[in-house]
Amino acid sequence: MALVSVRHLTRIFDVSKPWLNRVIERKPRALLTAVSDVSFEIEERSVYALVGESGSGKSTIGKMLVGLLGPSEGSVEIRGTDLARETDAVKVDAVRADIQMIFQDPFASLNPRWRVRDIIVEPVAARGGDTKGLAERLLEQVGLSARDAGKFPHEFSGGQRQRICIARALASEPKLIVCDEPTSALDVSVQAQVLNLMSDLKDEFGLTYLFISHDLTVVQHMADRIGVLYLGRLVEEAAPDDLFDDPKHPYTQMLLAAAPKLDGFGREVTPPTGEIPDPINPPPGCAYNPRCPLAQSICREKRPELRDLRGARVACHMVE
């Protein structure tokens, strides 16, 4: 059974103006659909990556997975438990302890007034667990020194802080770690160190990652399965080799063509046209149809379902 199964997940944010302004200006409610009917499963001990541009809903899905946001519709089940609906507190607590998160900005996600030791053992201490020597052991596991436990976050560089975040995420011995752009704020050489560390820890502790990133090269390196999001919808899901060698959805093709290539010297790309449409007012049918070279009338009328195609799942009417 899959560790995580996400079914028909939808999240709608109310971004309307205050009630009085709406009445005076006669404006209707504005509802922003950040995530729309997304379904996927994450196998145990695998890395599932979500890629997409800004506003594609990848971080919102991550937050719903850890329970920081509730779904508007649909469900997230972790080991068969739906955190949003489960009423048995013991069960909820057990599942929650299995999930941790690593955030993008290691400067914002560490409390500047706490010592590293207290930061790292917090997930365990909050549940009343034994924290003796835990911080020191974890620090050495993530490549820092046990002596660093007494220091404050400002004494560390960005890469070292991200290691502290990883140590904190490991403290409660989780099964699933949601990593939201864990290396986007880091330099390439530091990014390489952190990515290698994350791979090593995954093997050592049998972890499962949900890896959220906008960087296709990082995703290609880390993931076992990649989901491509566009305007809150899953448009394609495939293994990395399939996705990069044979992208099927026109959006994925556009994304891969637009990404700068290291060997693309003087490459003349025909840049993609248009931009992501307004999520408050998405186009009818397939969300990609205004920019799609293959679009036909059906694409403007009916939203495509995900269907199996050569080992991948694709949401497109036209592609064969």
Binding site: S54, S189, A192, T217, K261, L262, D263, F265, E275
Partner: protein, 335 residues
């Protein structure tokens, strides 16, 4: 050989502090010719933005140019102050920053911002400036330019705003554009649009471009030549194809190996993928107040020998040469 648009010789920037003088840029020399895009890469703190700011005279005190010369179109500009520098800025050097929202005035219509720049630098009338503002917006690919010229910056998306900033940098027809991380805040598809735009404008107008970025992929696609900076010094300089596919300096080599795609290609494909590890450069870039003696890279360098710990190694002089290293990677042997 024609005179380069921009020529930097031995540029050194110092920041005096209570705890001694920091040197974020140390003896950097390079040229940019007309119609050429020079990519400047390096990690954060390598001094790449500081060098760009020095050229345009935007160093914030106490940082100052302590040695070296900067020539623009053959005229020396590093000692210009106040008014004379201001006249140069915008007229001869255009600047594109990372965050388009902070480089535009949120209270002014974009048309007014464009005409203001032109009225200051060019001898033209109000109506002519407006006409040119619309033409400039049209040229950077803003659809319906005549209708959008009276919009405010917040009415544009991130990519469109960056186009406006580029139009702003170009409107006085400068001979040099300094683009400091122009696509870092943008999505890939928009990034591709902006890069294509920069390349087209550079080619059509013969503008020289200094493209400062940390993204090797962007450099590979956009730049003609590339300068790799490390801890304030120029580590390697050369045609982009040579530097990226056959680096001579151990730092460039390590940097290329750290990029996920490059190491993946080396590791082959298929079943080995899970085992592929990224090449790691051990340690981190030294802080400016704790630079090692000799070559700043030697504590992390796999090729370092005794000489590297005392002598900073050969400099890239006169914008010529390749790697500032005693023991560059011998490509003939590797191949």
């Amino acid at each position: 050989m024609t005179t380069p648009i921009l020529s930097i010789r031995d540029l050194t920037v110092d920041i005096p502090t209570r705890h001694g003088t920091l040197r974020p840029v140390d003896g950097v020399s390079y040229d940019i010719a007309a119609g050429e895009i020079l990519g400047v890469v390096g990690e954060s703190g390598a001094g790449k933005s500081m060098a760009g700011n020095a050229v345009i005279g935007l160093l914030s005190p106490p940082a100052h140019i302590s040695a070296g010369e900067i020539h623009l179109n053959g005229a020396r500009i590093d000692h210009l102050r106040g008014d004379r520098m201001r006249r140069l800025r915008g007229k001869q050097i255009g600047m594109v920053f990372q965050d388009p929202l902070t480089s535009l005035n949120p209270l002014l219509r974009i048309g007014d911002q464009l005409s203001e720049t032109m009225l200051v630098h060019l001898d033209i009338s109000q109506s002519e400036a407006r006409k040119r503002a619309i033409a400039a917006l049209d040229e950077v690919g803003i659809p319906g330019a005549s209708g959008r010229v009276d919009s405010y910056p917040h009415e544009f998306s991130g990519g469109m705003r960056q186009r406006v900033v580029i139009a702003l940098a170009l409107c006085a027809e400068p001979s040099l554009i300094i683009a400091d991380e122009p696509t870092t805040a943008l999505d890939v598809s928009v990034q591709a649009q902006i890069i294509a735009l920069l390349k087209r404008l550079c080619r059509e107008r013969g503008t020289a471009v200094m493209l400062i970025t940390h993204d090797m992929g962007v450099i590979a696609e956009a730049a003609d030549r590339v300068a790799v900076m490390y801890a304030g010094r120029l580590a390697e300089l050369g045609p982009v194809r040579d530097v990226l596919s056959a680096p001579l300096h151990p730092y460039t080599d390590g940097l290329m190996g750290s990029t996920p795609l490059a190491s993946r290609q080396k590791a082959g494909n298929g079943k080995d993928r899970g085992k592929a590890r990224l090449h790691q450069i051990p340690g981190a870039m030294p802080r400016l107040d704790a630079l090692p003696t000799g070559c700043a890279f030697h504590p992390r360098c796999p090729r370092a020998q005794d000489a590297c710990t005392v002598d900073p190694g050969p400099r890239i002089e006169d914008g010529q040469g390749r790697a500032a290293c005693f023991f560059p990677i011998d490509r003939a042997k590797v191949a």
